[in-house]
Amino acid sequence: MELKELYQEIILDHAKNPRNKGKCEGYNHDAKAHNPLCGDKVHIFLNLDQDKNIKELSFEGEGCAISLASASILTDTLKGKDLSFTKKIISDFLKMLTHKTKITINSLSDDQITTINSLSGVQEFPMRIKCATMAWHTVLSALNEKVDNYGQLKR
C-alpha cells in the first residue's frame, strides 16, 4: 500500500516528464546540491526580478524518481511567486515531510496543493526524505538563505 502512496501517478508523471528542465533564461541566481550517499544531483536556476518575484525557475539534475519529481513540482509551484511567499511554501513543504504537518497556505490552487501533497507519501520512508527535500533546500541556498548541511545525515 505504502509503495503506492510513494509512487503516485503525479509523481511518476513528473519523474518521467520533468517540467522546467534546463537552464532558464536570464537566471541571476543558482545553486547546486548533491547527495553523496546515492549520487542524486540537482542544480537550480532562478531569475528573481526587481520586485523580488521569481520570474523564471528551472533545474538540471539526475536522480531517483522522488528527487526528479520533487524538483519538477517545485519549479511548477514556485514560478511567479514572490520571495516571502516562496519561503513560506518551502518551509511548509519541509515541515510536511519532517513533521508530517499539512500544507496550510491557502493562496495555492487546489491543483497545486494536490500536486505538492503527492509527495507526502515520502514521510513514511525516512531514508528518502532527503531525495524529496534536496531541491527545495537548494532554492533557499540559491536565494542565499541558511540551509542545512547537505551530504549529512538528514536531521
Binding site: C38, G39, A65
Partner: protein, 405 residues
C-alpha cells in the same frame, strides 16, 4: 552445505520485514552475525570483562589471554608467519589509513607515485589523497576495462622507479572482479615495491593466505566476516612493522615516556594505542571458528553457485543492465534498470523484504568512469540461497509494475 541450518544460526532471519521473510543481499555492506558471535560478546562482558594488558588481577589476566588468543586465531587463519604481524584496528578503513600515514610519513616524498586502480573503494583512495596533499606525491590509476577488471598489463605499464607502493583491492565491491594479487606481488617484488591489499571484500569470500599471497599489507573488516562491527585487522609483514613509526599515540603503545622524548613499544603493541575493543576481538575468534567449521572453500563454492544463478537470471531480464563481466569474480552483482533509478529499486525491493544497496558504493571514481551516478547491488553471504535470488527477481519485476513500464 545445509543453508537452512546455517541461516537458522543467524537470529536476524527470525523477523519479518514488511510482513515478508528477510532476504538479505547486502552482505558486501555488512554481514549479519551468527548467534555464537553475539553470545560470545555478551558472555565475555558478563563473566570475563576487564581491561586488557594493564592490570594483574584475575579478570585482567583472563581478558588479556582471551584477547591474545584471538590474535593467534587470526594469525593462523590468514597464515601469517608471526603473531606480531596482526594488528587490531577499527576497520579496514583504519588499517589502510594507518599504513598510508605511517608508511607515507617515512617512505613517500614529493613526486613519488602511489599506484592504485579505478576500482578502489574510497577507503583505499582518500588516505592516499591525504598523502598527495601533504607530501606532494602522485596517485596513478590503473584503468578498469569494459569487463570491470584491471588488467595486469596496465599495472605493469604504470610501475616505474618512482612507484613507492601499490594499493589495490582484492575483490571489487562493485564489479566483483577478483584481482590477481599474487601476480601483482611478483611484479612489485622485482622492483622492491610493497603491495597493500584492501582485503575487505576478499577476506569474507576467499581463502586468504599471507604466506602464499606474499603481500606486504592486508586490510580486513571483521564486520563483513560475520564478526563484530568496529573491528578490523591490519596484517603487515614484520619487516615493516619493525621500522614504521607509530600511528596514534596513547596508553599501551609506549616503552618509555619522558618529558622530552618518547620511546615506543614494538609491534603489534606500538600500533594499538588506547583501550581496545576487547569484547569484539574476543568474539571474532568465534567468527573465524564459524567460517572454519563450514570451510571457506565450501562457502566459496556455495556463494559462487548462487552468484552464477543470479547473474544468469538477471541476464535474461531485458530491463536489467549488468555492471561488469569479469572473468574471475565473486560475491556481488551490480545492475541498473531501464526507467527505474537504483534508489527507487532499493525502496521497492524493500517492500518485498529484499535488502540490497543502491548508490555508488563508495566507488565514485569507478561510477564516473562508467558514466552512471548510481547502481543497485545485490551481494551474497553464506546464508543466501537460490530462493533469495528468485525472490529478488520477482521483486525486480514489481519495479516495472510500480513504475508502470
Amino acid at each position: 552445505m545445509d543453508i537452512k541450518k546455517i541461516k537458522s544460526e543467524f537470529p536476524i532471519f527470525k523477523q519479518k520485514i514488511n510482513g515478508k521473510p528477510l532476504v538479505y543481499l547486502d552482505s558486501a555492506n555488512s554481514s549479519q552475525k551468527p548467534q555464537i558471535v553475539i553470545n560470545r560478546m555478551a558472555n565475555f562482558y558478563e563473566t570475563e570483562f576487564s581491561n586488557v594488558g594493564r592490570s594483574v588481577h584475575t579478570l585482567a589476566v583472563k581478558a588479556t589471554n582471551r584477547f591474545e588468543d584471538s590474535r593467534d586465531k587470526v594469525k593462523n587463519y590468514i597464515n601469517a608467519k608471526h603473531r606480531e604481524e596482526i594488528v587490531f584496528t577499527k576497520g579496514a578503513t583504519e588499517s589502510i589509513n594507518l599504513i598510508a600515514s605511517s608508511y607515507g610519513e617515512k617512505f613517500i616524498s614529493k613526486g613519488d607515485e602511489i599506484l592504485t586502480t579505478e576500482l578502489e573503494h574510497h577507503s583505499n583512495y582518500i588516505p592516499w589523497h591525504f598523502l598527495r596533499q601533504k607530501k606532494g606525491a602522485k596517485i596513478k590509476f590503473a584503468p578498469v576495462n569494459e569487463r570491470g577488471e584491471v588488467e595486469i598489463d596496465e599495472i605493469k605499464r604504470l610501475i616505474n622507479s618512482k612507484t613507492k607502493i601499490i594499493a589495490i583491492t582484492h575483490i571489487s565491491n562493485v564489479t566483483g572482479a577478483i584481482m590477481p594479487i599474487k601476480k601483482i606481488v611478483d611484479l612489485a617484488r622485482e622492483k622492491d615495491i610493497p603491495v597493500l591489499v584492501d582485503g575487505t571484500q576478499g577476506a569474507p569470500h576467499l581463502k586468504i593466505d599471507m604466506e602464499e599471497l606474499g603481500c606486504d599489507f592486508y586490510a580486513i573488516s571483521c564486520h563483513k566476516m560475520y564478526g563484530p562491527n568496529g573491528l578490523g585487522i591490519l596484517f603487515a609483514k614484520k619487516k615493516w612493522l619493525d621500522v614504521l613509526p607509530p600511528y596514534q599515540g596513547g596508553g599501551g603503545m609506549i616503552s618509555e615516556v619522558l618529558k622530552d622524548n618518547v620511546i615506543f613499544a614494538n609491534s603489534p603493541t606500538r600500533f594499538e594505542a588506547g583501550t581496545m575493543q576487547t569484547a569484539e576481538v574476543v568474539a571474532f575468534s568465534e567468527s573465524i571458528r564459524f567460517i572454519e567449521n563450514l570451510g571457506i572453500k565450501n562457502i566459496q563454492t556455495h556463494e559462487n553457485e548462487i552468484l552464477e544463478y543470479g547473474i544468469e537470471k538477471l541476464r535474461k531480464n531485458n530491463s536489467i543492465n549488468l555492471i561488469g563481466n569479469p572473468k574471475v569474480r565473486g560475491s556481488v552483482i551490480c545492475f541498473t534498470m531501464k526507467g527505474v533509478h537504483p534508489h527507487d529499486i532499493a525502496t521497492i525491493l524493500d517492500e518485498d523484504g529484499v535488502a540490497i544497496r543502491a548508490g555508488h558504493h563508495c566507488c565514485q571514481i569507478l561510477h564516473d568512469k562508467l558514466g552512471i551516478s548510481a547502481t543497485a547491488r545485490a551481494s551474497i553471504g553464506v546464508y543466501n540461497s537460490k530462493d533469495d535470488i528468485d525472490i529478488l527477481c520477482k521483486a525486480i519485476d514489481n519495479c516495472k509494475k510500480v513504475f508502470k513500464i
